[in-house]
């Protein structure tokens, strides 16, 4: 692939440099809790799931808690050891979503090109808005002030000529900057990022970091110095992307509505206890398949491939699998997908207790295009699925369900009151 490095970050309008922001909310969940309960201000606040349901890990920690060494993902008991005075708060996912939507609305008063990246991070394209709101730094300052005044949350903003530069500017510099703002561009990208450890590069996780260390690649600059072809040969397109990232090159754009063009839908859950019987696991798989198919139908899509994920309960001897299977024909009918998900699970499960399972559908295509079959009563199945979805939408997720959800091990009723696997 030929990449025109010179064209990076340039808007098609009169060769103008793009102005891309990544806005990140500081300790989002903990900040929302503090905004709602000002008595928590200045205290080490830790938002933590329910340990009884094995969700007792840190979801967010305030800066005071982080100062004690508490990090997201740590178990609750470890936090208590590190910071005995920490205030533990249970998550309120619905409220966090409300706040995230409010913040999106604030940003939309500056530009209509706002794309949430996660619940607490949003990309904004402000190219061409300088005439209305001033220089990028002034716009960022105004946004930070508005978000702070209207939600009580501290926002940090990274500026770049493409989403990657904005993300790197935010994660590596703006979070530590006094004014919560930092700019990276084609001219200063190398000077600022190349001395950073390789693990700081967007897209480099723990495993990739280890791989790079084995290759004596310790900084982003070391990676940038490697031939692009060598990385492409070893890791394919992922290696190529990392090389581009090391050079600050990114072809992404900030396109609102992109969320609707997703390539797959999936659900995974950590079980409230270890499941060891095939019967219980089959029920959970059915419920997950139903959730996944419901979401695909809501998008007007059907999937061509089903994936099943399973993680064993024994931390000392990690086990589990992630396998996929192409479906005979694309579908979003639960009972067409489920037999394949179940057969994948049965084939690859080692019989050991299971801690987490997941199902996803990928290869999404439009639901109105399918191969007609004389013997498969597809229209009737689709109509049944739609009728069930309509009832659920109107009366709630538990208004109509399969009888299997009344058997031991079923999770439908517990999950109905949750968002992202945590209390709504």
């Amino acid at each position: 692939m030929i990449v025109n490095i010179c064209s990076q970050g340039v808007s098609p309008v009169a060769g103008r440099r793009k102005i891309i922001f990544l806005a990140d909310m500081e300790s989002f969940y903990a900040s929302v809790e503090t905004a709602l309960n000002p008595s928590l201000r200045g205290k080490p606040v830790v938002v933590c799931g329910d340990p009884v349901l094995r969700h007792g890990i840190v979801l967010a920690a305030s800066k005071e808690a982080k100062a004690c060494g508490i990090k997201a993902g740590q178990p609750a008991w470890e936090c208590r050891r590190l910071c005995p005075g920490a205030v533990f708060v249970r998550p309120h996912m619905h409220t966090y979503l409300e706040y995230s939507m409010r913040i999106t609305q604030i940003f939309e008063q500056f530009t209509d090109r706002v794309v949430p990246y996660s619940i607490d991070e949003q990309f904004l394209d402000l190219t061409g808005c300088e005439g209305l709101f001033g220089a990028p730094r002034e716009i960022a300052r105004a946004m930070i002030r508005r978000v702070g005044e209207e939600t009580g949350i501290r926002c940090r903003i990274g500026l770049g000529e493409n989403p990657l530069q904005a993300k790197m500017a935010c994660d590596c510099f703006a979070k530590r900057a006094e004014d919560a703002f930092f700019e990276l561009n084609a001219a200063n990208y190398a000077a600022h990022t190349w001395p950073l450890p390789i693990g700081k590069l967007f897209g480099v996780g723990h495993r990739m970091e280890r791989n790079f260390h084995h290759m004596a690649v310790r900084t982003i600059g070391h990676l940038a110095g490697l031939p692009r072809e060598a990385l492409a040969r070893r890791w394919g397109v992922s290696g190529e992307i990392l090389w581009l990232n090391a050079h600050g090159i990114d072809h992404s754009t900030v396109e609102p509505g992109g969320a609707a063009r997703q390539k797959g839908v999936g659900h995974a859950m950590t079980l409230p206890r270890d499941y060891a019987t095939p019967r219980e696991l089959a029920v959970v798989l059915l419920e997950l398949t139903e959730e996944v198919c419901l979401r695909a139908r809501a998008l007007g899509k059907m999937g061509g491939t089903v994936h099943v994920y399973c993680r064993g309960a024994d931390f000392d001897r990690p086990s589990g699998f992630s396998r996929q299977k192409k479906l005979p024909e694309p579908t979003s009918v639960t009972m067409d997908v489920y037999p394949h998900a179940l057969s994948l699970f049965r084939r690859h499960w080692d019989g050991q207790p299971v801690r987490a399972v997941g199902v996803s559908l990928t290869g999404l295509t439009d639901r109105d295009r399918y191969q007609l079959s004389l013997f498969n009563r597809r229209a009737a199945k689709d109509a049944l699925g739609e009728a069930m979805d309509g009832i659920r939408e109107r009366f709630g997720a538990t208004s109509i369900f399969r009888a299997a959800s009344l058997t031991p091990g079923a999770q439908l009723f517990r999950r109905a009151g949750m968002i992202g696997g945590h209390e709504a």
Partner: protein, 120 residues
């Protein structure tokens, strides 16, 4: 898939909760619907232009294409016009019969240059 990742690395790595995605999509739909139902504000020049087209249609017997905004969104009607200025109503003889269109409903007017109406 590879190309998608190369060109949309953030779309591929986005960690959006389904509930968040759903709410954004719902809000986008509502905004689009609101926009579709927003009555445009016409300036004097635009109103004069409508009047001119209407008079031309009446004098030359040309068919008029009228876009009206209803609760269900925009609808296009075509036919020969007759105005009732006192009532603020445009009467349109269409294939489905004579329709009364309130002037306030009209958002666009266009003359079908290639057709001649069959009179009112």
């Amino acid at each position: 898939m590879s190309t998608k990742k190369l060109y949309h690395q953030f779309a591929c790595s986005s960690m959006m909760l389904p509930e968040h995605r759903g709410r954004l999509e719902r809000r986008r739909r509502e905004a689009r619907r609101e926009e579709e139902h927003r009555r445009p504000q016409f300036d004097e020049q635009q109103r004069d232009q409508f009047q001119y087209l209407l008079e031309r249609s009446l004098s030359q017997g040309l068919k008029l294409q009228v876009t009206i905004l209803t609760d269900q969104g925009c609808r296009i009607l075509a036919g020969t016009a007759k105005q009732d200025s006192a009532a603020g109503v445009l009467r349109l003889k269409t294939a489905d019969g004579v329709l009364k269109v309130a002037a306030a409903q009209i958002v666009a007017l266009q003359i079908d240059e290639n057709s001649s109406g069959d009179g009112f």
